[in-house]
Amino acid sequence: MLDPGPLVPRPAPAAPTPRADRLRGLLAGGGAQTFGLTLGAIVLALVITAGLILLAGKNPVTAYGALLRGAFGSLDRLAFALNKSTPYIITGVGVALCFRAKVINIGGEGQIALGGIAASFVVLMAPASLPAPLLLSLAMLAGAAAGALWALLAAFVFIKRNVHEVLCTLLLNFVGVLLVSEVLHAPLGEEGAGFPQSPLFPRAGWLPGLIAGTDLHIGILFAVAAAVLGHVLLWRTTFGFRLRILGASRPAAAYVGLSAARSTALVMAIAGALAGLAGGIEVSGVHNRLIEGFSHGFGFNAVAVALIAGLNPLAVLPAGLFLGFLEAGTLAMQREVGVPSSLVYVIEGLMMVFVLCAVGMGAHNRKV
């Protein structure tokens, strides 16, 4: 079996009592050392980026000031940032669960795309007489189901043919993103629109707002629920325990009679369902229509979020919020100070590298 490396810094306990398990759950990811290292990585990334801002002839203090105002400056900005964080958190929880079992699912992007397509089909094709709550529930379920199926497709090739899951999920990302364009080209496209997009959803297909007067929709509640449920699943259930054993050692898992194939398929389906749900939330909550390329880049961001969170579903919540607010802030930075918003990728990339180094070193230190 391939061993993609020390992604899971802490080995699963051999015989967990519920109490020891809970303690471990709080420690992992929430542990002072991990938290400190992650914080250090973020600060280091921000410092290096400040150098780049200087290089671009702008004042980093002014730029970061604009970033903060852009993220937190008003109720609208907060709503924007929270909406942005939502798909990252929901998808990130699934990624964290997969990575815990050392199933490197980087297919979030394609799974989100498929979820968006399925939800859009339901909303646009359903009879107009359907009450809004029922329509939305159906749309979200369809999104989750489509995402799960897309993930299972990759899982199938991975399990049955032993093709590395990174490649399966990655290749399906490209196909998924293209499928969005394809359905907009033919069955769902809006005629005469300058941009490949579907017609606007009927009102009943819009995700309800959370705070009147802002764009904030109820998606963030789904995100909180996903993080909490993911935490419970990972640390309080037999399945979560199986995932952790699988991640710690596949031979050991096989030795105790644990079916790696079944657990892998199940965790991929869960991650895919979450990503698909995120796709449904994105189309009906933010755009109110299907848009070409709407999921582009989400998959990698979800990986970044899961990593920054130390693969701990509960910690995915702050990590996803961090990234969402960072992106909202850098967009404002571009508007106000003229610093290119591509800096957000620089910060993300640097942060990921530093966090990975910190995790890698930590794993090594524990071994000695």
Partner: protein, 307 residues
């Protein structure tokens, strides 16, 4: 299909395969030494940017090529440090440097030239027809009237294959990829070998990016590699970590891409999006078909720990 159309299609296949081929050779060296080459997408992008920038500043394509090589290596150095020194996860480090490359190139493009979407215009490398050989019917236009990097790319496969198969250093590189402990026991420093292999991989991938910016397109645009690094990665696996196999994989993906851009012209009732999916589906199908018999280097992905 007449002969001229066929020649044109085959010629395009070689041209489109070339950037993939450079990246695949680079990735192959890195993977045979035991490091996943997920970062080649970013290294290609860095190479495309470095090449375009240097060519613009100096007015020389040769300088552009050298710069692309170093740009690819610069990003490879990040991967090498993170994975060998700090034992960071190889796969995710690769993804991280891809994001980093996307951000840095886009940022520097705007930072250096100002404006929202600055445009670099470069002359593309012209075809270098080989005298006499270029006049052979069908074969001539396909094989011997290509721009320079096409020749270089396909010629490169031979020394890479020879190096891996026949030289002592190549043997050690493979040993590090299969069993770093054993290589260490006979006096090789696996971390050093891996670092050098990753750097070489970055140099090749950087050149692959230069093929795009200096030879094919004549400009740099954000994210212009557009997944080609990942396709190269699939070609390595389809080719079972063998240079000639990887070359065959690149040619296959090149052929599909060449067909894609022509299918519309032939009036076939297939949408361009569906055609664009084909390379990815072909890659997935091939991988699934080859399945378990894949010959992935034994120690790939595992950090080497000195005890």
């Amino acid at each position: 299909m007449d002969l001229a159309t066929l020649a044109e299609l085959l010629s395009a296949t070689l041209r489109i395969s070339t950037p993939l081929l450079f990246a695949a050779m680079g990735g192959l060296i890195s993977e045979r030494a035991g490091t996943f080459a997920v970062g080649i997408e970013g290294m290609m992008l860095a190479g495309a940017f470095g090449g375009a920038l240097a060519a613009l500043l100096t007015g020389s394509s040769a300088a552009g090529l050298v710069a692309s090589l170093f740009a690819g290596m610069a990003l490879a150095l990040v991967v090498a440090l993170a994975t060998t020194r700090f034992r960071a996860d190889q796969m995710v480090t690769g993804l991280a440097v891809n994001i980093l490359a996307l951000g840095l190139t886009s940022f520097l493009l705007r930072g250096l030239f100002g404006g929202r979407t600055p445009v670099i215009r470069l002359p593309t490398l012209p075809a270098w027809p080989v005298p006499l050989l270029g006049d052979i019917p069908l074969l001539g236009p396909v094989l011997f009237r290509q721009p320079p990097l096409v020749y270089l790319g396909f010629l490169l496969v031979v020394p890479v294959a020879l190096y891996l198969a026949k030289t002592k250093s190549g043997l050690m590189l493979r040993a590090v990829g299969e069993n770093p402990e054993a290589a260490f026991a006979v006096g090789t420093d696996p971390q050093r070998v891996r670092t050098l292999a990753i750097l070489a991989g970055g140099a090749f991938a950087g050149l692959g990016g230069a093929v795009l910016s200096l030879q094919e397109v004549g400009t740099f645009t954000d994210g212009m590699t557009n997944g080609r690094g990942f396709i190269a990665l699939a070609a390595i696996i389809v080719g079972r970590w063998n240079p000639f196999g990887a070359m065959a994989g690149c040619l296959l993906f090149g052929a599909v891409a060449a067909l894609e851009s022509r299918i519309q012209g032939w009036g076939l009732p297939v949408s361009s999006y569906v055609v664009q999916m084909v390379p990815y589906l072909v890659a997935l199908g091939l991988l699934a078909g080859i399945g378990r018999s894949s010959k992935m280097p034994g120690a790939i992905g595992a950090p080497f720990l000195r005890h």
